[in-house]
């Protein structure tokens, strides 16, 4: 029995952290997203060099063949540095979808390219957890029509994986006839979101899927978003404490005022158990599949709540400075706010947790 990270996992987290500390400073990130949401190819190739892009791709396809827990640990660091790269769709959801439902040929075609960091994949799952504005994709004669909203991933992704209203996964290629992509602009420019409108678009079915391919993808995506919040919120707590030990008012460090100390203590008390919850949810995805849906729901919902609390409290500790663009605290604030809604807000996700347990 051991509920802890392994040496290798800590080393991997450390190597990603060291890379990003140099390459993804706040100033860099700020510059990269100055003109709107991007997936940054430069940072991506750096991460590819660390072997991160193919973390979940099996070794036979040139990846590292690791588990969702490993991917979760990477995402935590990406959230911590508000890195504008599309790790979740390309390196987590796409490999998992291909492994669960792709043919040998499809895997051969795409997995090595993903592992090498040569290919971006976008993934649309939003309609599987609540279609807005009448979105949805239908299939007629092997062609897709309809609309997919909040598609995760780079605007120039080579392929996009979409789920049909019947629960199948399809791949459509960039530039396919009848496909039109519009960027959706959220509060968080470090994440790319798109809207796809489809009119009889040629698509490739991932045919080998079991019934629960899409729910499994949702589980994985939710754990990853929870991990991203964990990293971002931890950073916001640290920034609050650091600021409180610099800023003086009334001839005292503001960190010596009990109101400020207690706010920081509350953030820490709320956030620390979240780490174990996200670890377990990620671990359960591979090792305890019968619990994985429930745990993914709880991780996503709880991190959304705690993340929101930390984001606003840390901002308050910074006073007016927290509200400015100058300090850039808002990048974390917005990332947390965006993650909260993606793939299901907390109320919706908790409702699913009730169903999973047979309560309703």
């Amino acid at each position: 029995m051991e509920f802890a990270l392994s040496e290798e996992q800590l080393m991997m987290q450390d190597s990603v952290t060291r890379y990003l500390a140099d390459r993804a400073t706040l100033d860099t990130v700020r510059g990269l997203i100055a003109a709107g949401p991007v997936h940054d190819a430069g940072l991506w190739s750096g991460l590819a060099g660390l072997g991160i892009c193919g973390l979940l791709v099996p070794q036979e396809y040139g990846g590292a063949g690791m588990t969702l827990l490993d991917a979760m640990l990477v995402q935590e660091v990406l959230g911590r540095h508000v890195v504008p790269v599309s790790f979740i769709p390309t390196s987590v959801l796409a490999p998992l979808a291909l492994l669960a439902a792709g043919t040998a040929e499809q895997k051969q075609k795409w997995l090595p390219a993903i592992a090498e960091g040569r290919m971006q994949v976008a993934v649309g799952l939003s309609e599987a957890c609540g279609a807005r504005d009448g979105a949805g994709v239908t299939v007629a004669g092997a062609k897709l029509s309809g609309r997919a909203l909040f598609v995760l991933g780079a605007a120039d992704a080579a392929i996009t994986l979409l789920c049909s209203s019947e629960g199948d996964v399809y791949a459509v290629e960039q530039g396919a006839a009848g496909l039109e992509r519009t960027s959706l602009r959220s509060i968080d420019d470090t994440q790319c979101l798109g809207e796809l409108n489809l009119h009889d678009v040629t698509a490739e079915l991932l045919p080998a899927g079991e019934e629960d391919v899409i729910p499994r993808l949702l589980d994985a995506g939710r754990v990853m978003l929870a991990a991203d919040i964990l990293g971002a919120a931890q950073k916001m707590l640290e920034l609050a404490v650091a600021y409180s030990l610099e800023r003086k008012q009334f001839n005292r460090l503001i960190g010596s005022f009990q109101a400020v100390k207690h706010l920081c203590a509350e953030m820490a008390a709320e956030l620390e158990p979240c780490r174990s919850l996200v670890w377990y949810a990620a671990h359960a995805y591979d090792a305890v599949p019968e619990e994985s849906r429930l745990m993914a729901c709880h991780a996503k919902a709880h991190l959304a709540e705690v993340g929101r609390f930390v984001a606003r409290s840390s901002t308050e500790v910074h006073g007016g400075m927290g509200f400015t663009d100058l300090l850039g605290l808002h990048y974390w604030f917005k990332r947390i706010g965006c993650n909260r809604q993606l793939l299901g807000g907390p109320e919706r996700v908790r409702e699913e947790a009730a169903r999973v347990q047979g309560w309703i």
Partner: protein, 402 residues
């Protein structure tokens, strides 16, 4: 990350399960923290013999004398919780005094007091808090002056749980009034039958007199009843407080309570509809479930850190604060779900769960306050966990919060 137990541990788990099943008829009824019943004492003796309680306490002191094995301790706790079986004695004597004596007591004190405490023969109370010394425990004023081979004690304690039933008290007194606050305190053990002690029960909000005021008037106590050195009582007491805090906020209690609420919400109806159908109550239940799970996994993380001898840092400091609050919130949800039925108490008709939800709701507030208040916990988390400045010390008195 490996949550599997190796075969020897699986076998151990099976043994515990078999034992509990086989001895079901010996399970004593759950009792409060006061004097243990005969059935409870027999159960305690059986559990010690099996190594299911007092596991690592040496046999010469009346324990089982097992090697420390955190996983086995965990398995025992899990299986007792799962079966709903009463565990061993857990009063302040067993949970706080015994570990303190093991750490700081003289050989004679260990040999004399630990066996009697473990067996349930001797019931202890904890005499720390005073009317003027709660969070600021180091300002305590109860005086012990030297008289030949004895101390003469004068002063008052308050909030002393089980003092009205206790045989003995472990008590903080000021022996060196001129020394700095933290260096003038001594830790004494003495009988509650000593002449000059008066116990006045204090009725609490739950309606049960769980704690007391204790008055000392010229109470004569032999000097050798001191634990540790004279003037070292603060260090000895801090060893005890460490054990007290470890005891409060146990996530297994929250998990058991959560399951009871799930059952309640599935069985109870309002307007003929199951409570579980109410989306607002259900959402509250799920929010609390997230918290219970997070605290349980946090517990697994602490357990691993303990096995590895690693410092779990903030993960440990938050347990009392978060755990006690969570238990309180769980009781609050049960009451709200029951609505008007939730206000019934005492021996009322239509009472649910023997009134336990209201009692827990109130008693848990006591636990949020006792053993270091929520605010004191936040001071500790921010100062020790986050490295923020300590409270500035006003000239007169402060600091050394319990």
């Amino acid at each position: 990350m490996d949550l599997a137990y190796s075969p020897p541990y699986q076998q151990f788990r099976q043994e515990v399960q078999d034992f509990l099943e086989k001895h079901r008829q010996l399970w004593p009824p759950r009792s409060s923290l006061g004097k243990p019943s005969a059935a409870m004492k027999n159960w305690q003796a059986l559990l010690i013999e099996q190594g299911y309680t007092a596991r690592t306490i040496p046999a010469e002191y009346g324990g089982y004398g097992g090697e420390p094995d955190i996983l086995k301790s965990r398995i025992i706790a899990e299986e007792f919780t799962r079966a709903g079986a009463p565990g061993g004695l857990a009063g302040q004597g067993v949970s706080m005094l015994v570990p303190t004596l093991l750490e700081m007591g003289s050989e004679e004190q260990k040999k004399h007091w630990i066996p009697r405490t473990l067996s349930g023969e001797v019931l202890w109370c904890q005499g720390y808090s005073e009317p003027g010394a709660g969070s600021d425990l180091a300002s305590l004023q109860t005086r012990a002056t030297e008289d030949g081979e004895d101390f003469i004690i004068n002063g008052q304690k308050i909030w002393t749980s089980t003092a009205h039933e206790a045989d003995m008290i472990f008590c903080l007194v000021r022996t060196e009034p001129d020394a700095p606050r933290h260096q003038g305190i001594s830790y004494l053990l003495f009988s509650m039958d000593t002449p000059g002690i008066e116990v006045r029960p204090l009725q609490t909000m739950t309606g049960l007199a769980e704690f007391n005021e204790v008055f000392f008037t010229d109470v004569r106590v032999p000097m050798h009843s001191i634990v540790g050195e004279r003037g070292q009582g603060w260090q000895v007491a801090n060893a005890t407080l460490k054990h007290e805090r470890g005891m409060l906020g146990d996530p297994d209690i929250a998990a058991t309570r959560l399951n009871a609420i799930v059952q309640l919400m599935q069985e109870e109806t309002v307007d003929g509809t199951r409570l579980m159908e109410n989306p607002l109550l259900r959402d509250r239940l799920l929010q609390l479930q997230s918290r219970v799970l997070a605290m349980q996994f946090n517990g697994l993380r602490l357990l691993t850190a303990q096995i590895q001898g690693a410092d779990p840092g903030i993960a440990r400091l938050i347990v009392k604060l978060q755990g006690c609050e969570l238990n309180h919130q769980l009781a609050a949800l049960a009451i709200d779900a029951l609505g008007e039925l939730g206000i019934l108490y005492q021996d009322s008709p239509r009472l649910r769960n023997k009134g336990a939800w209201q009692r827990s709701y109130m008693f848990d507030l006591g636990l949020i306050i006792g053993g270091g208040t929520a605010q004191i916990q936040k001071n500790i988390i921010s100062e020790i966990g986050l490295g923020m400045p300590r409270e500035p010390k006003p000239a007169a008195a402060s600091g050394g919060a319990r």
